[in-house]
C-alpha cells in the first residue's frame, strides 16, 4: 500500500512545492496538489499537508482567510475521520484559525521576521509524526516567520503539556512563544501544527536532514498500520 497525500495551495502559499517534494522523496506514494477553491479532496487520503507562505497576504490575521476557504471544510471533515494533517508555519496558523488546534500565533515578541535555523527539543516521541525522534532529542530545523509567537491561556497550556500534546519546543529564544512551544498536536494526535519547516531539512544539500524523520515516521506509521 502506498501513501496517498495532498498538499493544499492557497493564494500566497509559497512552500507548497517544497512540501510536495519532501513527501515524494521521503514518503513516496501519490501526492495530489489541491487548490484552495476546490470544494473536495481526493478520495481515500492518508495525509494532508498545509504548507507555509502568506496566504491571502496575511490579511486580517495570518491564516484567517485561508481557514475559512472552501477546502478547509473538507480538511476539517478529514481530520475528524482521523486523516493525518500537518500544518507548517502558515499552515499552523491556518489550523489554529480554523479551530483544529488550540491557541493562536501572534506577532513575534521581538517584532522581527525570524529566518534561520533553530534548535528544537522533541517533547513527544509517540505521535504518528514524531515516533522516529527520541524524547528530549535536540534537532535543528529552519524557521521563517513573523507571526510565530504561540499563545494560549494557562489552563490550555497546562492541558496541552499534561496530555503530551506539545510536540516540539524551541531550545533557544526565537519568538516569545508561551513555554517555548514550537509545535502542538490535537487531542486525537492526528493533527500537528508547527512553525519550523521540516520539509526544508530533508537532504544534506539543504543544510541538514533533521526534518526527514518526521516524514519517515509518518509513512511508517500510516502505511504499515
Amino acid at each position: 500500500m502506498a501513501l496517498r497525500s495532498a498538499v493544499i495551495t492557497f493564494p500566497g502559499s509559497n512552500c507548497d512545492r517544497d512540501m510536495a517534494v519532501a513527501i515524494e522523496e521521503v514518503c513516496g506514494g501519490e501526492v495530489f496538489r489541491v487548490w484552495h477553491g476546490d470544494a473536495g479532496l481526493p478520495d481515500d487520503l492518508d495525509f494532508i499537508a498545509l504548507p507555509g507562505g502568506f496566504s491571502y497576504g496575511d490579511y486580517l490575521r495570518s491564516g484567517a482567510m485561508a481557514a475559512r476557504s472552501p477546502v478547509m471544510r473538507a480538511v476539517a471533515e478529514a481530520a475528524a475521520r482521523g486523516v493525518a494533517v500537518l500544518g507548517v508555519c502558515n499552515g499552523f496558523q491556518v489550523l489554529t484559525e480554523a479551530g483544529l488546534l488550540p491557541g493562536a500565533l501572534m506577532r513575534n515578541a521581538g517584532l522581527r521576521f525570524v529566518c534561520r535555523e533553530v534548535a528544537l527539543s522533541v517533547a513527544n516521541d509517540s505521535s504518528i509524526f514524531t515516533s522516529r525522534y527520541a524524547k528530549g532529542q535536540r534537532i535543528t530545523i529552519p524557521v521563517a516567520h513573523h507571526d510565530g509567537n504561540f499563545f494560549a491561556d494557562d489552563a490550555t497550556l497546562d492541558r496541552l503539556e499534561g496530555e503530551g500534546r506539545v510536540a516540539f519546543r524551541y531550545a533557544e529564544s526565537v519568538n516569545g512563544s508561551a513555554r517555548n512551544i514550537a509545535g502542538v498536536l490535537n487531542e486525537k494526535g492526528n493533527v500537528l501544527g508547527m512553525m519550523p519547516h521540516p520539509e526544508r531539512h530533508i537532504e544534506q544539500a539543504q543544510g541538514g536532514i533533521d526534518g526527514r524523520a518526521l516524514f519517515a515516521g509518518l509513512v511508517s506509521r500510516l502505511v504499515n498500520a
Partner: protein, 84 residues
Amino acid sequence: MSGIPSSTSKVRVYVSLKNGVLDPQGRAIQHAIEGLGFSGVEDVRAGRLIELEVDASVTDAALDEIANKLLANMVIENYRIERV
C-alpha cells in the same frame, strides 16, 4: 458601479487584544512615543477598526456572528460593535 445605496448604514467593529495578552506592537509604539520626547504615556495597546456598510436586513445577531467567527480571534481578542 452605482455606489452605495442610501438605505445602508455604517457599523464599526472595534477589535482589541484581551487583557493579559502581551502586545509587542503596542509596546513598540509606546517606545516610539517616548523616542519622540513625549512622556507620561504609560501603556499602548494596538487594535483594529473594521467598518461595515450594511443594509437593514443585517441583524445585531448576524453582526455578532460575523465578529466572533471572523473579524476577531476569540482566543486572543475581544470586539465591540457600534452602529453609527
